[in-house]
């Protein structure tokens, strides 16, 4: 599974992208977040307030209940501020 992080989520996690192989039970964004929180304090800080984090699965805005699998690209970022 390919993970991407943007803006302050990237700064807190400490990397812009990585490939992870979570157990098969990690099949939703929510379960993925729980899995990532175990990876270190940076992740814990980044995901401390899930209301402040947005997610995209395969480049489409998604929710915490969205399904994810080994072939997916999942991105975490703050609410967008372009324009």
């Amino acid at each position: 599974m390919k993970l991407l992080y943007f803006a302050w989520v990237r700064q807190k996690v400490g990397t812009s992208e990585e490939v992870v192989t979570p157990p098969a039970s990690v099949n939703t964004v929510s379960a993925l977040v729980d899995f990532l929180r175990e990876r270190g304090p940076g992740y814990e800080t980044a995901f401390a307030n899930l209301k402040a984090v947005r997610v995209a699965v395969n480049q489409r805005h998604s929710g915490l209940d969205a399904a994810v699998g080994p072939e997916d690209e999942v991105a975490f970022f703050p609410p967008v501020t372009g324009g």
């Binding site: 943007f6 803006a7 302050w8 480049q59 991105a75 970022f77 703050p78 967008v80 372009g82 324009g83």
Partner: protein, 149 residues
Amino acid sequence: MSAIRVQTADFDPGEEIAKLGGAQGTTGAIATFTGLVRGDGGLVAMTLDHYPGMCESEISAHVAAAYTRWPLLAVRIVHRVGRLTPGERIVFVGVASAHRQAAFAACEFLMDYLKTSAPFWKLEEREAGSNWVEARAEDDASVKRWQSP
């Protein structure tokens, strides 16, 4: 006909408008919006981060939605990324139609969605340090007016 570009380089609004006009003689109205970096609060620079690929696909989806909603002839959108200083252009949205109402409305619609759904993030740089711009509730409210009840 639509053109969507995400780039670090500056753009020429005049050139974009000329390209929106077309030679077919059916265009009666071109509405454009150009966003600039505001230098208030001692802003030194603004760095735009983005999600390559998703930016283009989000913008394309909203351009397609605009075409189904209004009789448009052309749309051109340019969004810059990287480090920009006060006074520099950030974004351009230009829409061509036969009549002004559609052009004005579609231009606002596209700009509202660009601000609330395209994955761009602004990092403000000041003398005291840098901080990420927070999303504004007003922008979410602006986009709601395009959603039918």
